[in-house]
């Protein structure tokens, strides 16, 4: 239904994965294509980007939001990327804080014009249980009153635990709960001197199903 | 008819092995090991194979808090003296800070009588120097000296006789009956609200400091007073390097001063306050490692005459609280000999003969209980009273407050492994402790 490699293939470019069974489901070009398509869908759905605010959810939702903003500005040259993008940390709104080691709190920054009356598009890398998005909706509630809230995700791997569905999806990725989905983005995952290319990979989780349950 | 004991192969003061026959309250015979047999005409003979054990004269503590009358919830004369027997003691001096204070003949006689009735050790009451330990008016020192308790040691311990004129009068007055003033040296104005040794640790953990000078200033004053009035002075539980120096100087001048150190000041330091465990709250406070070394050296070279326990039992509620709210003091009767062994004997600084001197003969002499039919601190020789302790220096044990005979659990050595074990204690030929356990009929036998 959506674009993207239908058949997982071994990645020749990604660094040697620790897990031998890790397979790449989206390569660099796939990620780029998905984002471009999502950008167009956002413009189409909202009849332009005048009132749109993209709020990236840290860590990887933030560069994805920036990339989407670049694409929006590319299509609609009048747009100012700065005033289009924000960063929404949902840590303090999570319902599972007591189940995990203490999480570091990220930054929340909104565009100068705020979110009141705007169409907020939440941007995250992987949509799984939906609990992160639930937390994000609560956080938005404390920050203002948008006209509408939409959700964009690079990967939807299913297993929803809440009545939440994405408006824009890079790739639907049927998984089992014991599998692990990893998104690598050049902006955040490049270690010193070891640049990383964008990729979405899937592997068997070493510690079983629980690792990703919190996403 | 009392039991006769044949102790074989024991090493008096750690020397040559001998056999000892304890009969009718005295050491009846001393002979080379393997040469003594039980006399035929005696039926009730117990033979103790004491090979490997050291025999010391029964220990004499010049500084014990038995808490009775008044704080029987912390210790009674019966429980405290039983603990003393377990620790190898045959005599203790019971401090005067009871409720009521032991400042009259009536109170000291009561303590003396309760001690005799308990029968574990000889109990020699210490009389208060001032009425109610208030430091204002001399107590009836003469009446206490003349009482059945025959008090010779006087102390306001817990409080310092800080008024110089009162101290002078006390020092003079006790000369009439060869008494001694045992001073708790603590300048009160320098130690108001004090909680622990003043130094690096107190500065860091924010507890009000008890400066060494508050002890040393009083000792310096007192030795000069004792010299001036020609009396004898005993310095309780000195704890600082400076105090050792002052006493050394005073003895060099020929001043009649004696000094004691507690087992805990021989081994523990103020670093233990860091966890705010009030078990380690004591007066005088635990000092620094340098002070510990100085008191060990002072004990080894004779500057410090004796080791006295300052056994200070306290109820759990008085220790299970904030440091500032907790009572000062720690128990010591059952661990004293082990601590002295660990710090002084096992380190080669003292012999067992020295231990006998600092824990038995010298304290008995200072307390004037070294002569007469109830004499303590005597040599291990034929005809002497059979006050003995048999020690296994090779044994080790882990201290468990709950297993001790004292009624209180505030031992600072809880969980610590200490060397040495008291195997048996004899009070005038009667076993109060055998195989490390108290002989529970002690009281009846005496009566």
């Amino acid at each position: 239904m959506n674009a993207g490699a239908a058949v997982p293939k071994k990645s020749p470019t990604s660094p040697a994965p620790s897990d031998a069974t890790e397979t790449v489901v989206l390569g660099e070009a796939d990620v780029a294509r998905a984002l471009t398509r999502i950008a167009h869908e956002i413009l189409e759905r909202n009849k332009g980007a005048q009132d749109v605010v993209l709020l990236g959810i840290p860590t990887r939702g933030v560069p994805l939001a920036l990339r989407l903003a670049d694409r929006l500005a590319h299509v609609e040259p009048g747009l100012d990327v700065e005033s289009l993008v924000g960063e929404l940390d949902v840590t303090m709104y999570r319902d599972d804080l007591h189940k995990h080691p203490t999480r570091a709190i990220g930054t929340t920054t909104l565009p100068a014009s705020g979110i009141d009356g705007k169409v907020v598009v939440l941007v995250d890398d992987v949509l799984y249980s939906g609990r992160t998005i639930r937390a994000a909706l609560d956080a938005i509630n404390d920050l203002g009153r948008p006209r509408a809230v939409q959700l964009a995700t690079l990967v939807d791997r299913g297993h929803r635990e809440l009545p939440i569905r994405p408006d824009y999806v890079g790739k639907n990725l049927p998984t089992s709960a014991s599998e692990r989905v990893r998104v690598r983005l050049a902006e955040v995952d490049s270690a010193d001197g070891a640049p990383v290319t964008d990729a979405v990979t899937i592997s068997q989780s070493a510690s079983g199903a629980t690792t990703e349950a919190a996403r | 008819m009392s039991t006769t004991y044949l102790v074989t192969g024991v090493a008096p003061l750690g020397g040559e092995q001998v056999d000892l026959l304890l009969q009718d309250g005295v050491i009846a015979q001393v002979a080379p090991a393997g040469t003594l047999t039980a006399p035929d005409d005696v039926t009730d003979v117990v033979t103790i194979d004491a090979a490997g054990l050291v025999a010391l004269p029964g220990l004499v503590d010049l500084h014990t808090h038995l808490r009775e009358p008044g704080r029987e919830d912390a210790e009674t004369i019966a429980s405290g003296t039983r603990a003393a027997a377990v620790g190898g003691f045959t005599a203790v001096h019971a401090m005067a800070n009871t409720t009521p204070v032991a400042d009259t003949a009536g109170v000291v006689e009561q303590v003396w009588r309760l001690g005799r009735d308990a029968g574990w050790v000889d109990v020699h009451p210490v009389g208060a120097v001032s009425v109610g330990l208030a430091g204002e008016q001399l107590a009836e020192l003469g009446a206490m000296a003349d009482s059945a308790a025959q008090v010779r040691v006087f102390s306001d311990d817990g409080k310092c006789v800080h008024d110089p004129i009162l101290m002078r009068r006390a020092l003079e007055y006790v000369k009439a009956f060869d008494g001694v003033v045992a001073q708790h040296a603590q300048e009160p104005r320098l130690t108001e609200g004090a909680q622990m040794n003043e130094g690096v640790v107190s500065a860091e953990i924010g507890l009000a400091g008890w400066p060494a000078v508050a002890e040393e200033a009083i000792i310096a004053r007192d030795v000069l007073l004792a010299e001036h009035v020609g009396s004898r002075l005993h310095v309780c539980h000195l704890s600082t390097a400076g105090s050792v120096e002052i006493v050394r100087w005073a003895k060099g001048r020929g001043i009649d001063v004696t000094a004691e150190v507690t087992p805990h000041h021989l081994i523990l330091t103020d670093e233990l306050a860091r966890d705010y465990d009030p078990t380690f709250k004591v007066n005088p406070p635990l000092r620094t490692a340098a002070d510990v070394e100085a008191v060990r050296a002072g004990l080894a070279d004779g500057t410090i005459d004796i080791v006295a326990t300052d056994h200070a039992p306290h109820t759990r509620e008085d220790k299970d609280c904030e440091w500032a709210a907790a009572a000062f003091g720690m128990t010591g009767l059952e661990t004293a000999l082990s601590v002295v062994q660990q710090t002084m004997v096992d380190t080669g600084r003292m012999s067992w003969a020295d231990v006998a001197r600092v824990m038995s003969s010298a304290p008995a002499r200072i307390g004037r209980v070294d002569v007469g039919p109830q004499a303590q601190g005597r040599p291990i020789a034929e005809g002497e009273p059979a006050n003995l302790v048999l020690v296994d220096p090779a044994a080790t044990r882990v201290v468990d407050g709950a297993q001790q005979a004292t009624a209180s659990g505030n031992t600072p050595f809880r969980g610590r492994e200490l060397p040495g074990r008291v195997v048996a204690t004899f009070l005038r030929g009667r076993a109060t402790v055998l195989d490390g356990a108290t002989v529970e009929t002690a009281a009846e036998v005496t009566a």
Binding site: Y93, H98, P101 | R189, A203, G206, A208, E317, A324
Partner: protein, 339 residues
């Protein structure tokens, strides 16, 4: 981190994590809706044996902004001499299911005892104990210093800047702490924390108000304020409160610590003249409440360099951060990211 008892226990990374978390907390406090759901269902008990309305309100505000339930338990007077023992109070709090106990006590070590005596499982936050420690005060002081002076300012940037200082320590900062160090838990907490964060501390006080043993602390000591202002040129001057009773010696276990207030002010007070000696970028701090006219003059307290009011606001953010880091994680012993 299971408890916060002393800044001496904090590693540099721990301290920076708290400061960074506090910065995020502070950011939420400029919003219209300041309340966060983070600690919903958690119970924080403010156990105050000493009157300290400021500190209690600060902790209470912090806990409530994080949606924790707050129980104020003030034990009037001294538990030391009368009333329920600390142990029984602790057992009561444990039975009530306190997740954190914020303890203020006149006895040094009381919070340590609460944390380690086995009476309760709660996280314990020391809100000031005797003459020992007041770690959240030192953390809010460090936070305030870092906002104003931390980070790379070689480009000449001045003023508070949260983004610039994220992850930064206080390396190279010169701090003078002036006044009653002897009785001050604030000074003790600050010396350790500021040293850990790389700052250079000079304690300035009359010799009577310095503890014996101060020589082993990781700081310099001076008896002369004018000399210190001139020679050290401190970036931060922190004035400590002088308790009125220190002048008479009543209740302090000794004589008066200085001849009279006038002499103290002349030698150790921060006034307009001394303010003028400071480098232009330097800031003036005071943990409050101030004795105007004694340790600090009105000119100094009200000058633009004074960040005293901001310290109070930062106190809420720091306490939110501490409660978050102690309570938000799982119950295992590894309450990362603080060791």
């Amino acid at each position: 981190m299971k408890h916060l008892l002393s800044t001496a226990d904090l590693a540099r990374e721990d301290a920076i994590t708290i400061l960074d978390t506090a910065a995020q907390m502070a950011a939420t406090q400029s919003r219209e809706i300041k309340k966060l759901p983070t600690l919903r269902g958690r119970t924080v008990v403010n156990l105050f044996y000493e009157d300290s309305t400021r500190t209690r309100i600060s902790f209470e505000t912090a806990a409530k902004r994080l949606s924790a339930d707050v129980i104020n338990f003030s034990a009037k007077g001294s538990s030391v001499s009368k009333g329920e023992s600390l142990k029984d109070t602790a057992l009561t709090l444990a039975a009530m299911g306190a997740d954190a106990v914020v303890c203020r006590h006149q006895a040094s070590g009381a919070p340590h005892l609460l944390a380690h005596a086995g009476w309760l499982d709660s996280a314990v936050v020391n809100a000031g104990d005797g003459m020992h420690q007041h770690p959240t005060q030192a953390l809010l002081d460090a936070f305030t210093m870092r906002r104003h002076l931390g980070g790379d300012r070689t480009d000449g940037r001045v003023g508070p800047d949260d983004a610039l200082v994220r992850g930064a320590d206080l390396a190279g900062l010169r701090v003078a702490i002036v006044g009653d160090v002897l009785h001050s838990r604030v000074a003790r907490s600050n010396v350790h924390l500021l040293h850990t964060l790389g700052a250079h501390v000079t304690l300035v006080a009359p010799p009577t108000l310095l503890p014996v043993g101060v020589g082993t602390w990781p700081c310099d000591v001076s008896y002369h304020l004018d000399e210190t202002l001139r020679d050290v040129a401190p970036d931060v001057v922190m004035m400590l409160r002088v308790q009125r009773e220190r002048m008479s010696g009543s209740g302090t276990g000794g004589g008066a610590f200085f001849p009279n207030p006038l002499e103290y002010t002349r030698k150790y007070g921060l006034d307009a003249r001394r303010l003028a000696l400071l480098p232009p970028h330097s800031i003036v701090m005071h943990p409050g409440p101030m004795n105007r006219g004694l340790e600090i003059s009105a000119e100094a307290a009200d000058s633009p360099r004074a960040v005293i009011v901001e310290q109070v606001a930062n106190g809420v953010a720091i306490r939110m951060a501490v409660l978050y880091l102690l309570l938000a994680g799982d119950d295992s012993t590894e309450r990362a990211p603080i060791s």
